[in-house]
Every structure is written in structure tokens, then in C-alpha cells.
Symmetry: C2
Subunit: 308 residues, 2 copies
């Protein structure tokens, strides 16, 4: 088990899957044995990017116990979002762009977080710091991550560094950003083959807001009514999930990728307080969130404050 | 309060003080308003380095409340080692070389930790990444930090990167490493003007080992008997400190900087268990630690394991 495993968060998105592949590739180039793995199913958007640039999805694992002594986390750090058994292995490195919480180590480590829109933007710097060229297909994956995390540079999490990195990577990958990016986002927003159960877990992250155990899930859609027309059925599932997992809040966000707005369905004992955090009332268990597209920058901070 | 404050840990050592000065300087060069401050008295070793390279000690603060909205931590991250009120301000950046524990943020941040011997070694890279030259007097401070943290490259925490950085910085600063380094370490190990109360707080850090609230303090000496000859009086102070602060362990380490060995005086209900962790018996409240010079690499991990 001398090999180091590289992985992103549970319910993986495009940044998490591609950053694991890309960073494992980078490690191999500098002579380290590294394998990218994943903690959940690959979504349609990510599959579109993998297919486009000729990659297989990484191997699926659920627990790190017995898999590795040493791991590298990309695109996350909070233990509840990480592999089961994460407390029992050495975390050698973290490359991330989120806040730090519920994370600790016994030993010094390499930890590289930057307040940018996407892990791939940081990885691009690390290639450069190591004097390594980025091959075209790897650049394609990295561009896909940036397009995904920034919703084609429209999210408030997007920084100038992400735009610049995206443009340079598109050149290396030989693709036209707007055209490729929208095709990829639409592939991810195509919910026609998804059950509501699928949607619930597609991009769900667990958070502790003050005393309250919460899940904030987000799905992208070309038309939010594809999801909201099934609200009754959805609420049954959300209520079941809240009961089974002892949640105080399930905040299910549907984001319109063309108009860059969201609507949330909120269930749980603090659902009303959550809606109030956005200065809105919970009506029919729904709250409309105009201009909100970023869980990290526009949803988590509001819920952190509202539920503290 | 648009200015960002830059500071290291309580009971500051040379790396903490100089890294605050150096990183504030770097920030100013890239157009940010930054001020280095300190959380405690400057020790003799650090004063020697400041005098040699023509710097004043940074301004002393105890709490960040009312001082700043935004701070940068260097050479530490654990909140109990940081400024009072640290939970109430935004931590914009951390530059560190320790494990991560008891640390969290509400927002994404720039966090740069590397498993090297000294914060200055990381700062040197950040100068280079920003295309900035290091002036001779700033290089002198950075060299002093490396000499201090690695005990002139002899500590097991010292990496090849620290040695290389130290050599390059000595060239820029125009000093001969061995000669300057030993003079600086000796200035720090000169305990003649120190009361035992001074020694207790000179470089004391608080840790939570499992259930046990602990302090591990370390002083450098040219002759450990300068301290150990006063053990009776020392124990009275340690016992008082244990009682007043509800400690389970006060582990007071005297390190011989010429022979690179240490002796610890251990007080508290888990003192014997602490000694056992080193495979030794506590005799007369003392435990001899041959070859041990690094709190981070040779003491904290052993106590973490022994007291878990």
C-alpha cells in the first residue's frame, strides 16, 4: 500500500472527479505512485467531459480502510464529505478551494487552498510551479471543471484567475469555450433519465450549521419545472431522508443554468428559519432565490449565519 | 480597519516574529496594506536577529478584537495558540508548517502549509512565485528563522528545502551561516537574565492530547544544568501553573543546543504516562530524551499517541 490515493468528495461533481485524475497524473509525472479514485457515481455532466477527452471514470471506493495508508484530498476537506475511515489514514496533501472545517491531522502536511472558483485553477499553478506541460486531454478535463464550478464564468465564485486559466486551458485543449461549455452544462442539466432519488444524491453535501445537521443538494436544470412539477413526490423523499438521517434541514436547490436563478425546496424543523435567512418566506415549502447559483458563496454563508 | 494584521503564535519564537515581518513586507510590495504584530515578548534569540538586520520588534497586541477585521496567520493555525478573539475575525490567509487542528473558517481562504522545517522556507517560494526579489535584510531575518527552527539544520524537522533556502538566503544576506547561526542560537540559550517564570512562558504551547489539556514548553540552553540546578524552584512554578490552568500535563523541555539532546521535567496527573511514551521512566519528575530536539516531530507525536 505504498501508493497514494487521490480523491474528491462524496456525490462527486466534475471538479472533484477531474481534479483527482489530473492531480494523480501530475504526481505520476514527478515520480510518485498515485491512483485517482472516486466516492460515488459519475454524473451526466462529468461523463460528457470524460467521453470528450477520452478518459475512463476512476475506480469507485467507499472506504479508505484497507485501500491506502496515505491519501490526498482534492476539492474538499470536511471529513463528513470525505471517504469513510478518513480519520484512520495519513492525509499527505489537500488541494482545495473551500472553507476549512471539521478537518484535522496529527502531522504536518501539504495543504494548498486558494479562494478561487475551482480546484483546477490551483492545479494549473502547481503544474507551472513544477515546470510541467499540460497535455491537451488533461487541459480539457481542467477546463471542464472550471466551466462546471463557475457555470461558464457566471457564478459569483468565479475569479479573474479562473477566467484566465479557463482561456489558457481551452487553447491547449483546442476547444471553443462557450460552445463546449454550454454543451457540457446541458448534458448535466438533462434530467430526463434521472429518478428523483438520483437527483437527491447527485450533488448533496452535508453541513453542520450551528446545532443543525443539514444537507444542501443542488441540481442544474435547463427548466426548473422539470423538477418542481414533481414537488409532491420530491417532498415525500426529502421527509424520508430527514427522518432517516436525523436531519434538521434538507435544502434542495434547483438552479436554472440559462437564467442563473435558483428555487429551493426546504424540509426540516429549521426550514422556515433557512428561508428567512434569504429575506424570503417559505411558501409551499419553496423559496425563490433570484440570482443565486453558488452553494458555496450564496447559500452556505447565508445558512451558516441564519442557523448559528 | 482595512489593514490586514499579520501575526504568529503566542509566546513567539524567531520564525513567528520574523515571518510576520517578512510576510507583511511581501504583502506591501504587492500593494496590500499589511502590518506585522506580535502576541508576546520577543526572546533573546529573536532580538539578536532583529538587531543584526536592523529591524524593530512588531507592535504588541493581545486580542484582535477592535484591531482588525481581517488577519493573516503565520507559523501556526491552532486557535488556542493564536490571538484572543480569533474566532471573531476573518482569517484571510494562513502560511504554516504545522499539523492542522482546532482551526476552522466560515469562508474560503488562502491556506499554504508545507511539511518543511520553517515558515520562512515557504515564504521564500512565495517571493519567487510573485516575481519579487528578497532584500538583504529581509533575507537575514528569513535565514534566522530557518537556523532557529532547525537548530542549524540539525533538527529532524529539517528538510532539503530548508537547507537549500538557508544557503541561498545566507548568500543574499551576506552572512556566514555557521558563524552567524551559532551566535544567534547562543544568544537565545543565554538564560542568565531570565527568571524561571520567564523560562516557563518563553516558548510554551498549549495542546489537547486526547482528554488531557497540556502545555509543552521548550527552552534552549548551552548547559542544561543552568536550568536543572533550579529544579525544586521550577517544580513549584509548574505545579502552580498546572493548578491554576487546570492542566493535566506541563512538559517542560530543556534542549542542549550543542549536543542536541533534551531533558524534560514533567508535572501533572499524566506525567508518568507521558514519560512512558518515550519508553522511559519518570525519575525525580525528570525524563532524559537522547537525540530529541524537535517538539513538533519528536515530542508532540509521542505525547499524542501516549495520551490518546
Amino acid at each position: 500500500m505504498s501508493k497514494v490515493l487521490v480523491f474528491g468528495h462524496k456525490n462527486p461533481d466534475t471538479d472533484t472527479i477531474t481534479s483527482a485524475i489530473v492531480y494523480a497524473y501530475l504526481k505520476q509525472q514527478i515520480g510518485e505512485e498515485a491512483e485517482a479514485v472516486r466516492l460515488g457515481d459519475v454524473n451526466n455532466e462529468t461523463q460528457f467531459a470524460l467521453d470528450k477527452f477520452g478518459f475512463e471514470a476512476p475506480r469507485l471506493i467507499s472506504s479508505v480502510v484497507g485501500e491506502a495508508d496515505k491519501v490526498i484530498l482534492v476539492d474538499h476537506n470536511e471529513f463528513q464529505q470525505s471517504a469513510d475511515g478518513i480519520e484512520e489514514v495519513q492525509i499527505a496533501e489537500v488541494i482545495d478551494h473551500h472553507r476549512i472545517a471539521n478537518f484535522q491531522t496529527a502531522d504536518p502536511l501539504y495543504y494548498r487552498a486558494e479562494p478561487v472558483g475551482c480546484t483546477a485553477t490551483i492545479l494549473k499553478k502547481i503544474f507551472s510551479e513544477n515546470g510541467l506541460d499540460i497535455p491537451a486531454n488533461i487541459a480539457g478535463l481542467m477546463l471542464s471543471a472550471i466551466v462546471s464550478d463557475t457555470l461558464l464564468f457566471k457564478s459569483p465564485t468565479c475569479t479573474e484567475q479562473d477566467v484566465k486559466a479557463g482561456e489558457e486551458l481551452a487553447k491547449i485543449a483546442g476547444v471553443e469555450i462557450a460552445e463546449y461549455g454550454l454543451a457540457m452544462l446541458k448534458a448535466g442539466a438533462d434530467l430526463s433519465d434521472k429518478s428523483l432519488e438520483d437527483l437527491l444524491s447527485l450533488d448533496a453535501k452535508e453541513f453542520q450549521f450551528g446545532e443543525y445537521k443539514s444537507v444542501v443538494a443542488q441540481v442544474n436544470a435547463v427548466d426548473v419545472n422539470d423538477v418542481l412539477n414533481r414537488q409532491e413526490e420530491l417532498e415525500i423523499l426529502l421527509n424520508k431522508n430527514v427522518a432517516e438521517n436525523g436531519l434538521d434541514l434538507f435544502f434542495f436547490v434547483v438552479t436554472d443554468i440559462l437564467n442563473n436563478d435558483s428555487t429551493a425546496v426546504a424540509i426540516g424543523q429549521v426550514a422556515e428559519a433557512a428561508a428567512k435567512g434569504f429575506g424570503a418566506d417559505l411558501i409551499n415549502n419553496r423559496v425563490v432565490l433570484p440570482g443565486v447559483v453558488s452553494r458555496k458563496k450564496q447559500i452556505v454563508p447565508v445558512l451558516t449565519e441564519a442557523l448559528k
